[in-house]
Amino acid sequence: MGSQITLTMSLVFIALFTIAIFGFAIGFATDNDAAISITQDPDVNSFRTDITGNASGFATDSQGTYNSILDTTIEPGSDVAQSTGPFAVSISNLISVGKNVISLPRKAIFGDGGGFAIFFTTFAAVIVFLFALFLYKTLRGNP
């Protein structure tokens, strides 16, 4: 990853890919009058609505940011713009994309129960354990 541009591009492509896959699957089911369609799943429907809202929200934010850059004025004798608004690109919608995209597999695979929370807790515990071990071995060397 690295830069903000790369991360933003990744999140945008994740959102667009997800919308495209869902559109394809739903269109396939509609065109072929399929017996099973992913729209029959309530989680999928709410997820699709959320992710589409995130993507359109990002588009609106981007337009607003671009317009604010165009409208920026710099007073004579001043070195900087009057506000930092034009340089604050809102990626809150994209962060929501990440949260929403993770939420669907969590519900589809692990269900609504606490299983996934235990998974995350254990995973975090492993990370903390490795970090502590790393610190110890760095300071004391291999015992």
């Binding site: 990744s10 890919f17 896959i21 089911a29 399929a34 017996a35 992913i38 989680d43 597999p105 589809a108």
Partner: protein, 110 residues
Amino acid sequence: MGYLYELPNATTGVDTILSQTTTSFPGFVPLILFFIFAVVFIGGITRQKIRTGTADYSAWAIIASMATLLPALLFSVSAGFIRLDWLVIVVSLTVLSAIWFFLDRRSSEV
């Protein structure tokens, strides 16, 4: 000689064979989908490692996911092949592979 299950009757269509096999053994379709995913994923990684020395795991994951999603959608056309939760899981895994793929790219790549 007796059989463990009734032999499929294909007089109404060849897909009846698949349908009746699924009825006798509900794990038939998931195993087929897992087989496709595993063959593409492991085969692609192995072959790429032999050819170039390194393997692009995330790219092969998304290719294998797409290769699994298409038969899963085909299975969804008729009732009795694939359950809704399996189809949602396949779609979810495709999305997860996409997350892995896009976050794994360097800025100079796709």
